[in-house]
């Protein structure tokens, strides 16, 4: 399992980020390197001033989905940002912002949560990805 897992996060809703954070943390716990590349609305969710805000759910969640997500959270489930923090604590997890998306959203790195290690272009992402799988979420 030396090939990294490469996760491109595009969606910025809490449910997709939560599911993605579980995949990242699981791979990290297995000792597998993980590269996370933040694009578009996922990058927006990593803004320091709103990372802990409510980012909504994917449309298919509906009201029942909202209630289920809230119940799990109320029962103490770690949120996606906390899950990613724990994953990074294990080592081997690199989170990079897509430079095009930074331009799109008029962001500078200091606007982002410290979970984000840096800003890079897609070529640098592919170089880090090597022959590992790429997931787009």
């Amino acid at each position: 399992m030396d090939e990294p897992l490469n996760v491109v996060l595009f969606s910025g809703t809490d449910d997709r980020l939560q599911a993605a954070s579980v995949l990242v943390a699981g791979a990290a716990a297995l000792g597998r390197p993980v590269n996370v590349f933040l694009q578009y609305w996922a990058l927006d969710a990593f803004r320091a001033d709103r990372i802990n805000a409510d980012h909504g759910l994917a449309p298919e969640a509906g009201e029942a989905g909202r209630a289920a997500v809230d119940a799990l959270h109320a029962a103490g489930q770690a949120g996606w940002a906390e899950t990613l923090r724990q994953a990074k604590d294990l080592g081997g997890v690199e989170i990079e912002a897509c430079s095009l998306s930074m331009d799109l959203l008029h962001l500078r790195q200091e606007d982002l949560d410290p979970l984000v290690d840096g800003v890079e272009g897609v070529t640098a992402f592919y170089l880090a990805a090597g022959d590992g799988q790429v997931l787009f979420i």
Partner: protein, 77 residues
């Protein structure tokens, strides 16, 4: 089987993948051969600990279930 438990991880109430994440965090700084005992309530943890142990090389030396609580005993590689 009497084992000297070096570290306990109480992952009861934590959802996937936190039992594995907390265990991986706890075991990393320990000396090889150290024994870690984990308690978890996540139903997925039975297959997860087996897979994690196989992949990482840490040895799952005992497991049991008491009601809704799963117990895993792992020897650090």
């Amino acid at each position: 089987m009497t084992l000297q438990i070096t570290r306990q991880v109480d992952a009861r109430g934590l959802t996937c993948p936190m039992p594995i994440v907390k265990t991986a965090q706890a075991i990393a700084p320990l000396a090889p051969g150290s024994i870690v005992e984990v308690l978890a309530t996540d139903a997925g943890s039975v297959k997860d600990f087996a897979a994690w142990s196989r992949t990482t090389g840490h040895q799952l030396i005992d497991q049991s279930v008491d009601g809704a609580v799963y117990r895993f005993v792992i020897r650090r590689k």
